[in-house]
Symmetry: C2
Subunit: 420 residues, 2 copies
Amino acid sequence: MPGLLLRDGRPWGTGGPTDLLVSGGRITKVGPGLAAGDAEVVELGGRLVLPGLVEAHCHLDKTLYGGPWRPHSAGPALADRITDERLRRAELGLPDPARVSALLETMAAAGTTHVRTHTDVYAGFPGGRVAEPPARGAVPTVTAGTGLTGVEVVRDTAARLAGRITVEQVAFPQSGILTNPGTAALLEEAIKLGVHAVGGIDPAGLDRDPVRHLDVVFGLAERHGVRIDLHLHDPGSLGVFELELIIERTRAAGLAGRVTVSHAYALGQADAATQDRLAEGLADAGVTITTAAVFDFPVPPVKKLRAAGVNVACGHDDIRDLWSPYGSGDLLDRAMHLAYRSAFRRDEDIELALEAVTYGGAKALGLAGYGLAEGSPADLVVVDAETPAHAVVTRPPRDLVVKAGHIVARTDALSRPPRG
Amino acid sequence: MPGLLLRDGRPWGTGGPTDLLVSGGRITKVGPGLAAGDAEVVELGGRLVLPGLVEAHCHLDKTLYGGPWRPHSAGPALADRITDERLRRAELGLPDPARVSALLETMAAAGTTHVRTHTDVYAGFPGGRVAEPPARGAVPTVTAGTGLTGVEVVRDTAARLAGRITVEQVAFPQSGILTNPGTAALLEEAIKLGVHAVGGIDPAGLDRDPVRHLDVVFGLAERHGVRIDLHLHDPGSLGVFELELIIERTRAAGLAGRVTVSHAYALGQADAATQDRLAEGLADAGVTITTAAVFDFPVPPVKKLRAAGVNVACGHDDIRDLWSPYGSGDLLDRAMHLAYRSAFRRDEDIELALEAVTYGGAKALGLAGYGLAEGSPADLVVVDAETPAHAVVTRPPRDLVVKAGHIVARTDALSRPPRG
């Protein structure tokens, strides 16, 4: 297959315009004035080149993306949203391959080359009980589990888009593990179907027994060699305690680089000294923090975490689903939200948000060779922006998207000089 | 002049498609199946019609919009930004009519028909002192005042765009009034030049004497019959106290409907009982709260304020200037940020954010007859969205913008059926 010669791009972190030669799905050469040989030449006109964007946290199986507008139907509490989803997902035909596909197409066109998605995997409640914080006395009405349907739908839909975007799944016990007997076994079946990671959710606040919840999650990860990505919404000192448990257990299991905590609101709420202590622990244990900077929820202290050596990734969380009507699928948009909520004004700070949707996500997912170096997989996106920070602020069109060496999307703008 | 017949629009998404007849700058008739006469017919195909968007708080005189990317140059503290701006505005040629014009063009094309902008008006510091919170010992380096240059530049630039977008100015003492002798007189000169409102800024935190600061601001408003729009960033109980003073003074001066407090972070920070008490006072006194929902600053409790009868408006605050590199000039984008930070998920809640950039802003500015009724000024914007909430979430292109009965912007999409 003839390759691509990307002429006069400005790869993030380098000086003046240079060429990138792409062949066999990899960036084989970077430098000025490269010979094209039989490669197709694409003139970038000095545009900015970023590595392919990495969506580190979303829920493809829940999405209504691309369908008609569905006014949000749940009440204000978390338990309302859990119950509402359990009630309505069958009615709305979720997970819906057409919706998943529509969202992945949008993501790919917007420069996302890799996606980690949390797919609901939970058992039914034969007794009629819905997993809810016990303080709330809502009537349990929905008892069906997900089985492995979500995992299969996402897997099969992603397979049809292979080569355009890479999807890896986390088996996600949305309704608890311990409080939802049968879910641990389902998680194990999901792993056997090929999911890359096992998830967890509020080991204390939702599942009521943090240590035994982590026993199950870490046990599955260790037995099957998969990664871990836990949802942690628990606030305040409870959330801090759980972060400590996760740090200790990651160290003990020797899983540095293979464990992610998503959301970690408690980290954003903690006082400065506690943040410092946790940042040191997370860095030392090799635990990634993934944030989505959604709504008004606390955002972890990205700059402090990065300064301490903690890997930080970013994703959308919900996109146009029964949990949230918002979300575009555009990771530059999401990076803007993260930078904005972090009150990042200076270029070097705003770049931290861009790093979260690129290198940070790649590290969380364990993508080998990720980047724009010679030998890296040829996953990249080209935008008309002066600097990486400028790209985050303005979120310009993706003029060219290359995945595994193939052009996935391009705009007419490439035939014109950049706006500068 | 022949008018316009807008065929098959859905005003604010309520009820079925209807026609709007526009003539002499007004909406003269609303109803199905209207006769066009000699009016130009524009088929809306069932699209959503909103009244013209109202930008209730921005700083046109500071903007670098449309120019090259300028990495943020100030340090992290508020005083750093004040000093940085005083240092760099001359170097960058601010206020710059070309930048102001570029931003107003973008706003108009995005459906904004009215703008309230705060224009810096402050005296120089002959002694070399820069107004700063006294706790901070930064070296005073910039001593020049603004004179009335900003007011004139904005006035003249807006005049060139008259008919496309209406701009009103607030004379804004960015560097204080009491602590910056000569500024009160300048504010009075600005009023004589035709500004619509007099501003203020942190009467306690910045200007060090809340009562006398309000004496000056309210005194000018009463003597000259202009409106008031005060910046209030002061946090916590200090900000609450200042809100109380403003409520009391608005009542005493009989200025209901003519006073706005912008930002009011303290209102977002207060406990529920204090919020309730202030909401009642603000409603009773007729004080508008304008929020921009920027960065991670506290957002006033929009739903609670509206339920109590308080008028709420919204604007961008800084747009691509020395204070903030962010901002698009698109008020649907800004409404999304407000809805998002308010964690509004349900349609009826998300609509509150849209109301803030339409009816709420119109009320703050005192726009007579504003809306989509027969007799209203023909200021409106048409988008391809199913509901008002859908428009906030997706921020679709503005397919048609009409200002004072004239078409300001239209897209090719109008020739095609809506996506639905």
